[in-house]
């Protein structure tokens, strides 16, 4: 009796397995097609604004007034780039963007690596408290602190300066978290060994820990650069003159409500502002994706 029940259940299992295989083979045919159709459509939608931007930047002004949809220019107009470059002091904006980004990157790499090492490898009284404080800082949106920070920059005379532009991004909570994660994976024995060889704490940090965490430090530098390059609200608030504005703010002041034939020129300006970042992204994609996902996840 028991034996019979066992056979029966085995038989139903087998027949179920057979039907699963049949269903799966059908699934194997249709699902990938649907899947790629969806993914290709999504890629098209994601890429469209980029294509529209680049092709529009080569359009002659009269193309803007065409009634029907044209992705490609009727004739290729390369002068839009020169026109955009001369419309505002973009060479100045470029220098300002790069200088403030350089200050931010330097500041973040210095302060974040040090603090992360403190949290990952050193013991001190109140470490938990400071770590909680760090978490609290992460919850505070920059925007909620922008009025006092502006007043501070104004009082110490940093409005319209490079240091002023990067003032609020000289350190980064996410950066500290990212590097702390990496430093914690470095074995303590390695640090002890360097100490036995006569290194002090700072020397073992510089010569042992930092080289081990090169790729994380590179990721942090990249993210700091990106944040600074794309920053908007703070640079908007602390600059008044064209000579100290960054690329983003410069572009913003070119966008006016009644734009018509100037659109190709605006698209040209957008293209050369995006280009450095997109090139960096294509070249260093791994760091970007890993860095952003890791800082997101903590």
């Amino acid at each position: 009796m028991n034996q019979l029940a066992l056979y029966k259940s085995q038989a139903t299992k087998r027949s179920r397995a057979v039907s699963t295989v049949k269903r799966r083979s059908l699934r194997h045919l249709i699902l990938p097609i649907l899947r790629h159709a969806l993914l290709l459509t999504a890629s098209g939608i994601v890429l469209f604004p980029f294509l529209w931007m680049v092709f529009a930047s080569f359009k002659p002004a009269e193309d803007i007034f065409l009634d029907t949809f044209h992705l490609l220019p009727t004739t290729w107009e390369f002068g839009n780039y020169a026109a955009a470059w001369q419309e505002a002091p973009f060479d100045r904006f470029f220098i300002n963007s790069i200088a403030s980004a350089a200050i931010s990157v330097t500041g973040q790499v210095l302060t974040c690596t040090l603090a992360a090492y403190g949290f990952a490898k050193l013991n001190f009284w109140g470490k938990k408290f400071f770590f909680t404080l760090l978490l609290t800082c992460m919850m505070i949106p920059d925007e909620a602190a922008i009025i006092p920070n502006f007043l501070f920059a104004k009082n110490v005379g940093l409005l319209d300066t490079w240091l002023g532009l990067s003032l609020t991004s000289l350190t980064s909570v996410f950066g500290i978290f990212l590097l702390r994660q990496t430093f914690m994976t470095i074995p303590n024995d390695l640090i002890y060994a360097s100490k036995i060889d006569g290194c002090n704490e700072l020397q073992s940090f510089c010569h042992v820990v930092l080289p081990c965490a090169r790729s994380s430090v590179a990721t942090l530098a990249l993210l700091a650069f990106l944040d600074s390059w794309n920053a908007y609200m703070w640079p908007m608030v602390v600059t008044y003159q064209n000579t100290t504005r960054t690329l983003q703010i410069g572009l913003k002041y070119l966008i006016k409500p009644d734009l018509g034939p100037q659109w190709p020129m605006i698209m040209a300006a957008s293209t050369f502002i995006l280009l450095p970042v997109l090139l960096l992204f294509v070249g260093l994609q791994r760091y970007f994706v890993e860095g952003m996902v890791k800082t997101g996840i903590k």
Binding site: R27, L39, S43, V46, L47, P49, F50, M53, A56, T68, L110, T111, C112, L114, A115, Y117, G118, F119, L122, N123, F124, K127, F130, L133, L134, C137, M139, P141, E143, A144, A145, I147, P148, L151, F152, T168, I176, F205, L226, N230, Y232, M233, M236, V237, Q248, I249, K252, I255, W263, I266, M267, S270, L274, V277, L278, F288, M292, V293, G296, I297
Partner: protein, 291 residues
């Protein structure tokens, strides 16, 4: 094993630079904001004048302020739901490791790294009622032109759509990481028990990646409360205040109208709401499956 006394001082030395900066530009501003919110000041006259809770009383009778909170919440909910659903759907299609999926991942992630101002300019052009490509594409399908950013009903959804375009790739990549982390044994076991794809998704995959969903919701909430750039570039809060969120309203009061005290009061409310939502989300963390 470790000599504690010298280490104590050393630890402080290592974290000091970061904490000086955080104290100066993150923590102290919160205090100063709070103090400023009880004053009236236009930044031109010598000193802020103490006026008690007058700013807060004004806030509670200010219709524009309540409208900005509604706009902020509408933006947050629609942006978070759409980016997570689209991100999850795309990532579910990309779990196989092959060249095509690496290509898709690169494409989807690329808007994340771009500058919001430049992309706002591009989308402003795409949405343009006369010269924009969206209306001319819809025109080919026989759909009447829409004044995307220029009517009160369509302006906010248009901004959300653009932001979803920019951020869904991030959600996709994060979800992809979580989905690839699910052990194939669990999935196989469920299959052998006769689970179909839908049941597999609903009862196995979604519960297993719930920590990721939780983390993304928190991240996207904070982000959507900070939205400023695209609004400032594309609509300036208009038409008729329909896209003025809290941050934009604070900016307008403090930096356009030079009402520093009132702007600070809005900033205090902004911070309070963000912290409150964070606490609520932390309460819901108990329903998240961390194994």
């Amino acid at each position: 094993m470790q000599e504690n006394i010298p280490k104590r001082a050393l630890g402080y030395a290592f974290i000091l630079p970061a904490f000086i900066l955080l104290g100066l530009f993150r923590l102290y501003p919160i205090l100063r904001n709070f103090i400023l919110s009880f004053t009236s000041w236009d930044m031109v006259t010598a000193d802020p004048r103490f006026i008690g809770i007058a700013n807060y009383l004004e806030l509670f009778s200010d219709e524009d302020f309540f409208s900005s909170i509604v706009v902020t919440l509408e933006y947050a909910v629609s942006f978070i739901v759409l980016s997570l659903v689209v991100g999850l759907a795309l990532s579910l299609c990309m779990t196989a490791k092959n060249k095509m999926n690496i290509f898709y991942r690169t494409v989807f992630f690329s808007p994340t790294v771009t500058s919001m101002v430049a992309m706002s300019a591009v989308w402003l052009f795409i949405y343009h009622p006369q010269y924009g490509s969206l209306n001319s594409i819809l025109g080919m399908l026989g759909i009447q032109p829409v004044r995307w950013l220029n009517t009160m009903d369509t302006a906010l959804p248009s901004l959300v759509m653009m932001n979803v375009w920019k951020r869904m790739g991030f959600c996709t990549v994060v979800y992809l990481g979580a989905l690839l982390g699910i052990s194939s044994e669990t999935v196989e076991a469920a299959r052998i028990d006769g689970a179909n794809e839908w049941q597999l998704l609903w009862h196995i995959k979604l519960p297993l990646i719930s920590p990721t969903t939780f983390m993304l919701v928190i991240l996207m909430t904070i982000e959507s409360f900070q939205v400023f750039t695209q609004i400032n570039v594309m609509t300036q809060g208009g038409p008729n205040g329909s896209t003025t969120n809290l941050v934009t309203y604070m900016y307008m009061q403090a930096f356009d109208q030079f009402r520093v005290g009132y702007g600070s009061a809005i900033a205090v409310v902004l911070l309070a709401i963000v912290l409150l939502i964070y606490l609520i989300q932390m309460y819901f963390e108990r329903f998240v499956n961390y194994d």
